[in-house]
Assembly symmetry: C2
């Protein structure tokens, strides 16, 4: 497959994107087969048909293969919140951003399913994922501040949004009904409204 890619585009950008993708694919396969702990960078590079040196041009270590997308996710969430209609309530700006991100994840559910299985099997990775989500919540609160939203509203709206996203994501990963991630996000958000309303 990578050969085909090289044939139709020899530009460095495309080639680099492909090297990253091949390394990521090889890493996910190996983490799934023998576990994250027992996989080495040398093995990932070999499986991808690349050198270790190339691996380290894209990733600081084998853990970063699973987390490099977080920065891009954060950027897209923040710009969606900052760019939401002036009339949008804080929680609605946050939820719209998360649904849009959910639609991107939906394009490659298989990748998310495989990644999630690797994360779930390793305590350190679960902690890292938790910290990633906390940083996303903090970035979302920052985006709300830029919209003039004060505290504690900004933190509550972004934390509630990330909670909904995390729970919806888990349900989507385990879903057999075929509902998509944006749909799960909307449902979980409605559920949160019901839950917080109490008795």
């Amino acid at each position: 497959m990578s050969v085909t890619v090289i044939e139709y585009d020899r530009g460095v950008g495309r080639w680099e994107a492909d090297a990253r993708g091949r390394l990521e694919e090889a890493a996910l396969a190996l983490y799934g087969e023998r576990g994250f702990e027992l996989t080495t960078v040398a093995e990932i590079a070999e499986r991808a048909g690349l050198t270790e040196r190339t691996f380290f041009r894209y990733f600081a270590d084998k853990r970063e293969v699973l987390f490099w997308g977080a920065a891009r996710l954060q950027e897209s969430l923040v710009s969606a919140v900052v760019g939401a209609a002036d009339s949008a309530a804080p929680i609605d700006a946050v939820m719209a951003a998360l649904e849009a991100a959910g639609a991107v994840f939906q394009e490659n559910r298989e990748h998310s399913v495989r990644r999630q299985a690797v994360i779930a099997a390793n305590a350190e990775l679960r902690e890292r994922e938790l910290i990633k989500l906390a940083k996303l919540a903090s970035a979302l609160a920052g985006a709300l501040h830029r919209r003039g939203v004060g505290e504690p509203t900004a933190s509550l709206a972004s934390e509630a949004g990330i909670t909904v996203f995390r729970i919806a994501f888990e349900r989507w990963i385990n879903d057999t009904s075929g509902r998509d991630l944006p749909q799960h996000i909307r449902e979980s958000f409605d559920e949160l409204k019901t839950v917080t309303a109490g008795t």
Copy 2:
């Protein structure tokens, strides 16, 4: 002060509680003075007038001095949720448990203020605190399951509760108006209801 304690009660239990308290006090003082990273167990023991061996009888390492209370907090939250009135909605059972815990923290606000300053100054400790709170949320969800609450309600109610608690706790730590922690918890919860209601 410890001498007085020994005089009125020579029982091992009381003495041990005092050793733990002295070590904790010495650790908090040193972490505040020179930072968590630069403080050694030897220095903590010396400041407390105890040996390193005694330190390790109570704490696995210098970090545990800051986190040993989490297990007790978790137990009290779980038993409060499990024991709540059958008629209590999931979120109300969770919030009542958190308010009761808040009243305990209120008894020694100074301790919380000092501990929080140490945590805030160190990235690794902030991550550990985050993981502690995630575990609390998970334990609360487990307690709701025991009440027959299903998913995603149990997870949403407990995550929402922990979010409210965390934000209320921060506001309480920085509060100059004298409002107590249970009051901050109630206010933040009301704010969450308003936030999730959206436009």
